[in-house]
Amino acid sequence: MSPVVKIQDLHKIYESGEVPVHAVRGVSLEIQRGEFIALMGASGSGKSTLMNMLGCLDRPTRGTYELDGIDIDELDRNELADLRNQKLGFVFQGFNLLARTTALENVELPMLYGRHRKVSMEKIRERAMHCLEIVGLANRFDHFPNQLSGGQQQRVAIARGLVNEPQVLLADEPTGNLDSKTSVEVMGVFQKLNEQGITIVMVTHELDIAKYCRRNLILRDGVVVRDEMVADRTIAEEEMQRIKAAEAAAKLTHQAKSGA
């Protein structure tokens, strides 16, 4: 099967400052369907720049990028927008939900654009509701973002990323703003989606988060320095049970202490 993402010798040079910044210096990469990749690196390693290019938000200075067999170099601004709408799902570090807009309306948003122009509001609503069910938030559909916890907001964002059945789900530090337990919860959602066959690429700088993925790519100074499969994957469900057990134990000890 052809790879869903095919990158060859990708370069990105920012000319805006006095000195041109060579952020990505020749990355070649193939991503197969069903992969779950963590893109790692220190800040300034070029991972965010690479992510922006993968997300078709930015164009490479040199090199080719084929997404699902389409060469993005040949597309104009609007065609790129349609490509993002149909083939990509985005999950951001800061969730980026619309404020004062319900969870359901946030999930509906991508369907209001692109090829869904002619789809009826009922269908859109139904599909958005289904995606909220997948992330386990169907009962919170009428909540506003400020009424939801960080983990719940990120799950709404994931539902929004899924709603157009993308080829690749791109997540930029999805757990960056979350505590460790909520991070496990969100990673669990990603693992579940990946098991259903969805391709996921995420940026992270946390090693233990990267361990939930199947493949780890490490960038340094704009080049890939390591590309390896994860040997001992962390499974979110097991991790969650371990945390719950630890919490219960902590409470037990606490109770025992106060009882004594």
């Binding site: 938000l57 601004r77 349609d82 985005f90 980026n96 948003l109 209001l112 654009y113 157009n164």
Partner: protein, 402 residues
């Protein structure tokens, strides 16, 4: 994006900021309400002036003598003595499409009756005069053609004269003395009030113009001829025929008369009211522009404040055009909803003014449409730049915006 979706998105965005939307629309509401109220007051005043002009009579044409010129000294219009009763007879006999015609001789005299005296306008006219002036009798009757032919000593009097000379009794059948000649009062005219020039129309005694010329003023010329055309379309044609006839009767002498239609008079009289309306609408228009600037200001703030939102929309597949349409629709919705409420407030305000102050107020329907369309236009103009700015944002920069 489908238009109904864009509309839905715009409505959601406005609902998210209800108070701000209301305050922004308030600028528009005040502007449009001001336009409607001002124009209503102006049109009311204009309609009143027009009604006064119409009270002169309908489809009226007046013939006045020209100016008198002797040895280099020139008199004004009406100073010439060239217009004769024969001119009036000739017009009546030869010009078609005339409904009524009356020669008129004007003078002021002291009149006596009932042991009282009063200085008033004594005008010599023809029997058609009340008809031509659209001025019916209140009691009694107008004198007839026979009275004109026989130089009859008869008269009809205006309401003011009736009140001054006969405060407690019916004047009809009584005698009024003009230049010591007894004139029998045949009737009293209905009150007409003040003319557009501010004089009391009812302060008048009408006698046959022949009696006036021979017995009272001893003039050989008449002051004017009033003609009523058969209908409004015929006014111009009658005017032309009268001019031709009188010119022909002058046999090559310099034309010494002027023929004017009521329209010319009306347009002069309504010009002031029109200027007034224009001025008021202009002032109100300024407030409309201020309202528009308010909308532009809020939309610009809104675009800056919602940069992240725009970034999200662009990232997940909105075209620049979608964002442009969304912000434009928001601006148009704000302004045209404001405009519609403004119309309601303006109409209500004019009615309130009219009942409270007793001002003549007329709400013109065309201006309601102009206001609503104008406010939508203001929305498009003031919304375009902010919307364009939003559409041009780069998704990455917009997403990073704090």
């Amino acid at each position: 994006m489908h238009f109904t979706n864009t509309l839905r998105v715009a409505l959601r965005a406005l609902r998210r900021n209800t108070l701000r939307s209301l305050l922004t629309a308030l600028g528009m509401i005040i502007g449009v309400a001001a336009v409607i109220t001002m124009v209503s007051i102006g049109s009311g005043a204009k309609a009143q002036v027009e009604a006064q002009v119409a009270s002169l009579g309908q489809n009226l044409i007046t013939v006045m003598p020209g100016s008198y010129s002797s040895g280099g000294m020139r008199g004004g219009f009406g100073s010439s003595v060239s217009l004769t009763p024969e001119d009036a007879d000739a017009i009546a006999a030869e010009v078609a499409n005339i409904d009524g015609l009356s020669a008129e001789v004007r003078d002021r005299n002291q009149v006596l009756a009932n042991g009282l005296n009063w200085n008033t306008n004594v005008n010599g006219v023809g029997p058609d005069y009340p008809y031509v002036r659209n001025w019916p009798m209140e009691s009694g009757a107008m004198f007839t053609e026979q009275d004109v032919k026989s130089l009859g000593k008869v008269c009809v009097i205006g309401k003011t004269v009736a009140d001054q000379m006969f405060p407690n009794e019916d004047p009809v059948g009584q005698t009024l003395r003009i230049r010591n000649l007894p004139f029998r009062i045949l009737g009293v005219l209905t009150p007409k009030g003040f003319s557009i020039f501010g004089s009391d129309e009812d302060d008048v005694v009408l006698i046959p113009y022949t009696s006036h010329m021979r017995r009272v003023s001893r003039r050989t010329s008449i002051s004017m001829i009033r003609i009523q055309a058969a209908d409004a379309d015929k006014v111009a044609q009658v005017k032309q025929s009268v001019e031709d006839l009188l010119t022909q009767r002058r046999r090559g002498r310099e034309p010494d008369f002027t023929v004017r239609t009521q329209e010319e008079l009306a347009s002069a009289a309504t010009a002031t009211a029109k200027t007034m309306t224009g001025l008021l609408a202009g002032i109100a228009g300024v407030s409309l522009i201020v309202g528009g600037i308010g909308i532009m200001n809020i939309m610009l703030v809104s675009v800056t404040e919602r940069t992240r939102e725009i970034g999200i929309r662009l990232a997940i597949g909105a075209h620049g055009k979608d964002v442009l349409t969304q912000f434009l629709i928001e601006a148009i919705l704000l302004s045209s909803l404001g405009g519609m409420v403004g119309v309601a407030v303006g109409v209500g305000g004019s009615q309130a003014l009219s009942s409270y102050n007793g001002w003549p107020v007329l709400v013109p329907t065309t201006w309601i449409f102009i206001s609503v369309a104008g406010s939508a236009l203001v929305g498009i103009i003031s919304g375009f730049y902010p919307a364009y700015k939003a559409a041009q944002l780069d998704p990455i920069d917009a997403l990073r915006y704090e």
